[in-house]
């Protein structure tokens, strides 16, 4: 069984210190230190989360705003370290969070391909081999030699997606990325993702669109205020997501606000 596990989360908790006024200069810190008033309001974004994802599973992470979905993804991507508990991932994790965040605006598209590839932990040869297909997939043409600061946001997203996908992820993290680019490119991305799904890649997908989730995933996790309340069958998770009392309350609140406007 051990070989088939892609992600194993063991009792993960994540605490953030919310201080009303952020102390980021020495004077403030010193004064507060002397007065012994460095107090933090604790906020647990995630509480005791345990789950395992098997290889080839496509897991939807559902939950309302502030439920801790993005925090969980960041922990899996290795960007955040959990306050408690441990996470183990088996295989190359490629996070598709905010495409092109690692780009240097002064660098050209071509240079950014190498830079971003290196950030994802690849060697020069690896990127050189795939350089042409990245450029081709991105459909940027001659713009590849223009500094990224002159790109439109759609172009940037296209380049980001192209780099991230060509590098053969084993665990793919998608955080509402499919809402970028024009229809044509989005379709191309979906085609590519489907192709990877057939190849048995493990996917973690965060989206509020139940339709998209149904297209991609086969399992679901439901997060509520940082707690894992359900993990397992996708349809059941969607059912919980749609029928949760809070969901209704939020909807009513939104309607009320709309009326006021």
């Amino acid at each position: 069984m051990g070989k088939n596990i892609a992600i194993k989360a063991d009792n993960i908790s994540m605490r953030f210190n919310l201080s009303a006024d952020k102390v980021d200069n020495l004077k403030e810190y010193f004064i507060r230190f002397v007065k012994r008033s460095i107090t933090f309001k604790e906020f647990w974004a995630l509480k005791n989360i345990s789950f395992t994802v098997e290889k080839g599973d496509r897991v939807a992470i559902l939950g309302y705003n502030g439920a801790g979905k993005s925090t969980l993804l960041k922990i899996i991507a290795g960007v955040l370290k959990p306050t408690e508990g441990s996470i183990k991932t088996y295989g190359r994790v490629v996070p598709l969070l905010e495409l092109g965040a690692g780009f240097d605006p002064q660098y050209t598209g071509a240079e950014n391909i190498y830079l971003y590839g290196a950030i994802l932990g690849h060697t020069k040869e690896f990127i050189e081999q795939r350089y042409d297909s990245i450029v081709e997939f991105s459909e940027l043409g001659d713009f590849i030699d223009v500094p990224v600061k002159n790109y439109s946001s759609g172009m940037r997203a296209r380049l980001g997606f192209s780099i991230a996908t060509v590098v053969e992820p084993e665990i793919l993290i998608l955080d509402e990325v499919l809402s970028v680019g024009d229809v044509k490119f989005r379709k191309k991305c979906m085609r590519y993702i489907n192709q990877m799904l057939d190849g048995g890649v493990t996917v973690l997908f965060v989206s509020h669109s139940v339709n998209q989730v149904r297209k991609i995933c086969n399992k679901g996790i439901f997060l509520d205020h940082g707690e894992l309340t359900f993990a397992g069958d996708l349809e059941k998770a969607i059912e919980i997501y749609e029928n949760d009392e809070q969901y209704g309350r939020a909807k009513r609140r939104r309607r009320r606000r709309m009326n006021r406007i």
Binding site: N25, A77, E98, A118, I119, L120, G121
Partner: protein, 264 residues
């Protein structure tokens, strides 16, 4: 994350290419869109040397030999070493905050940022040493076997810069004020480095210079070029200082790096 030693090495190997990419990026972007490009690493120190020599020898009437070296060589040696130290530590300090967007999105060993910034400064510094060699040849500095020993103070300076850079990078994440404070501290370091005056002329405040590890390095470097040989007390002091700052920097950075993201 209980990271063992072998894990750290494996991780470094994996991200080796990233390190070289970051170094190249630093150097490339520094000189992009300038006509002389990388040649500025040679022209800039040469020009400042000329200005400083003019100011301090022509206007103030001091000339001739300083510490066994022609005045321009004396100035250039001091200035090159100091500006490497100041550039590297400043760059390292700003590197973590400057890469906030990346740190928040993708996992990368975080020491890559300060380290690449220090190493890129070191490479441009090594290139600019060509000017020093050229000027030394033109002004007929007698070659000596001790010249080869000048590598030793340079290595010590690099170690020191990495240590100080890591400490600054860590603290500047939590306290933004540090950038200004370090600017002032660097000024103090510069004036106690004896870049453009003769250290032997100071008698009362000589101890101040001896406390400054950067001065110790510069002194040893000059003494190696002029053939005087390494000054042992300075050598020991700077080596110990370098190793202590390196260990402090690595430990501090390592312990605090997981908190960076919460403060960026």
């Amino acid at each position: 994350m209980n990271v063992s030693k072998s894990h750290v090495i494996a991780n470094f190997k994996k991200y080796r290419y990233l390190l070289s990419q970051l170094i190249i990026k630093d150097i490339k972007l520094k000189y992009r869109r300038s006509y002389l490009g990388i040649l500025w690493t040679l022209v800039e120190p040469l020009l400042t040397m000329i200005v400083l020599t003019m100011v301090f020898s022509t206007f103030l009437g001091r000339n001739g030999i300083r510490g066994g070296l022609p005045f321009p060589v004396y100035i250039l040696a001091g200035r090159l070493l100091y500006s490497f130290f100041s550039g590297a530590t400043k760059g390292a300090m700003k590197s973590v905050r400057g890469s906030a967007a990346m740190i928040k999105k993708v996992y990368v060993p975080k020491y890559m940022y300060p380290l690449s910034s220090i190493l890129s400064n070191f490479i441009t510094f090594l290139i600019s040493l060509i000017v020093l060699i050229g000027v030394s040849v033109v002004l007929k500095v007698q070659p000596d076997w001790w010249m080869f020993a000048s590598v030793i103070p340079l290595i010590i300076l690099l170690i020191m810069s990495v240590g100080v850079g890591l400490i600054l990078a860590t603290f500047s994440v939590f306290f933004r004020d540090l950038e200004y404070l370090w600017g002032v501290a660097l000024m103090l370091i510069m004036y106690t480095c004896a870049i453009f005056y003769d250290a032997d002329r100071l008698s009362k405040y000589k101890w101040l210079l001896n406390c400054n590890p950067v001065y110790g390095v510069i002194r040893n470097f000059r003494d190696c070029i002029s053939g005087v040989g390494l000054h042992m007390p300075s050598l020991i002091y700077t080596t110990v200082f370098g190793i202590i700052t390196l260990i402090t920097g690595v430990v501090l950075f390592y312990k605090k790096q997981d908190e960076f993201i919460l403060h960026l």
